[in-house]
């Protein structure tokens, strides 16, 4: 990080520094940048920063967490809130309204990142799962180190990805790969992700941030207006598909299958119980 960089946003889950025109964002919610209420609030604050600051000309998103870029939605928070609402006598409609409100907010964040007038780069390692994968897909480019694994495990929970993942993955790599990852819930290693074009640059372990910054610095050499025009031309309008995805997620959410899956997830002490031998997951040192 350059000595000239300035922290312009310091929140519980992320810190953003402005270095010249480069907004360097570090996610740091342990254990693996789960996206719950707090992370959502902090991502909304990030959107306000880059939307209201003309000096931002490129953005890199990375993670400080050892486990990886992000494990996705905070399923324990989701489950516990859902149970609390049920116990307080909230109707299905009321519970669904809250889920819908969360989805609307996270979609606004993802859409804002997807439609920035400047180049955005996700620098990823380790787990890039669910909502974390969706966050990376909202960026224009993904630079991955060899440890990165991409996965949409939602069907194991009786759900589909709900933060815009299906339309954006299909946009970026096509329907066949999207079906493969969604319908099997399998994870994809960084090398394979690079082969299919999901990852723009594959780098050695621990190198994704440095390389992503070089990519961002390259983008800073170009005329801002030209970059904006190119991005506008390159970024198709997915709004109808994204709305349909939210509708479908909400339809599925009230299923008892989801209740059971989330309860099992919450009962497991592991960080990511859907991984092989997940019950063995141990706590990570701070």
């Amino acid at each position: 990080m350059s000595e000239t960089s300035t922290a312009i946003l310091e929140r519980e889950c992320l810190t953003a520094r402005l270095d010249g025109g480069l907004l360097d964002v570090e996610l740091h919610r342990e254990p693996a940048n789960e996206i719950g209420t707090k992370m959502l609030e902090d991502l909304e604050a990030l959107v306000r920063v880059f939307s209201e600051n003309d000096r931002v000309r490129a953005m890199v998103l990375r993670s400080r967490a050892r486990r990886g870029f992000s494990a996705g939605a905070d399923l324990r928070e989701l489950h516990r809130q859902n149970v609390a609402r049920k116990q307080s006598g909230a109707s299905d409609g009321a519970r669904l309204s809250e889920v819908r409100a969360f989805l609307d907010r996270i979609h606004r964040v993802m859409n804002a990142i997807d439609h920035t007038p400047f180049t955005t780069i996700a620098a990823v390692h380790g787990v890039v799962f669910g909502g974390g994968f969706e966050l990376a897909l909202a960026c224009d480019l993904i630079v991955a180190d060899k440890s990165a694994r991409f996965c949409f495990p939602e069907l194991r929970l009786g759900l589909i990805p709900g933060f815009g993942g299906i339309p954006r993955l299909r946009r970026d790599v096509g329907a066949a790969v999207t079906r493969d990852l969604i319908l099997t819930g399998r994870s994809l290693g960084a090398s394979r992700a690079h082969e299919i074009g999901l990852v723009s640059q594959l780098v050695g372990e621990g190198q994704s941030h440095a390389v992503a910054r070089r990519v961002a610095e390259q983008s800073l050499r170009f005329d801002a207006k030209t970059t904006r025009s190119a991005l506008g031309f390159l970024t198709p309008d997915l709004s109808a598909e994204l709305e349909r995805e939210k509708d479908l997620f909400c339809e599925l959410f009230l299923s008892p299958v989801v209740d059971d899956a989330l309860a099992r997830f919450d009962e497991d002490e592991g960080a990511m119980p859907y991984l092989p031998a997940g019950s063995k997951t141990k706590e990570v040192e701070a």
């Binding site: 990886g68 694994r149 099997t184 819930g185 994870s187 290693g189 090398s191 092989p276 031998a277 997951t281």
Partner: protein, 80 residues
């Protein structure tokens, strides 16, 4: 050494190197989580390293119930 033995040997060497264990202490029938003192996230890293080493793709559902090095080596062999 047979091809089967070579796969297991390479797997054990890779696991020992990655998780800083004495290669000589690792055996095929060992529970890999206990022997390496790793969690599920570390196991994902091992999966990635195996894919790199052997040039294969290993879907996670293939290793969902795998506990031993022998069983993991068998999964790799099926993909070679």
């Amino acid at each position: 050494m047979t091809v089967d033995d070579q796969v297991l040997d390479s797997l054990l060497a890779l696991a020992a190197e990655r998780f800083r264990r004495d290669r000589a202490t690792l055996k095929g029938p060992d529970d890999l989580f206990d022997a390496l003192d790793i969690d599920s996230v570390d196991a994902m890293a091992l999966l990635t390293a195996l894919e790199e080493r052997f040039g294969v793709e290993i879907p996670d559902y293939e290793v969902q119930d795998v506990r031993t090095f022998d069983a993991l080596a068998a999964v790799v062999r099926r993909r070679l």
